[in-house]
Symmetry: C2
Subunit: 113 residues, 2 copies
């Protein structure tokens, strides 16, 4: 493999990592929903009506593993669980802004083709 090929492989891997973290149907809606103030499992579930419990649960785990949200057990009676976006998640701005802006430009380009 040439040097250039290796650089490309790493570039591809990094970009695909980003898409692995944010990709799929629900990860962004969930992050933004929690950011908007929905802290509890059922709050989020109601705010995003079409997601099922199974998928919400899996996605929350994924986001927690990737340090974008934090799950806190609050130990009064009854025990509550609260989700919050982390400070680290705010670092996403640097990538989601360009993705949003390219996506918008691209939609215009394609629709007016």
């Amino acid at each position: 493999m040439t040097k250039e090929e290796k650089r490309f492989q790493e570039k591809i891997k990094a970009i695909q990592d980003t898409m692995f973290v944010l990709g799929g149907k629900w990860k962004l809606p969930i992050i933004l929903s929690i950011y908007s103030g929905n802290k509890r499992f059922n709050d989020i579930s109601n705010a995003i009506p079409k997601i099922t419990n199974r998928v919400l649960s899996k996605e929350l785990k994924h986001l927690e593993e990737n340090l974008l949200i934090k799950r806190t057990v609050i130990d009064d009676y009854p025990v509550r669980i609260e989700y919050a976006v982390t400070d680290y998640a705010f670092g996403l701005e640097e990538v989601i802004k360009p993705m949003e802006s390219w996506g918008k430009k691209h939609r215009k380009k394609i629709s007016g083709k």
Copy 2:
């Protein structure tokens, strides 16, 4: 739906559009392979050994529809087909650079958790 919710919906749609265009296992490798000088179907197929004809063909169509590559029929004998990245594709730089850089940072963050 509140104003804020609507803004979020549009943000999400735009970001997911970007991921629709670039996402999946092969789209970036194909773009970079063509950019590196592989113009013919079989060149690309050989440069990316694990892709099958079926998938390569589908992905080339997707990239062409999204104006990132151009397919040209060259009419001597035998007829050849040449693929090239478009000028428009160079505009991806503004989005793939931040995606690459966030992806790299994130991998470090996660692996050293």
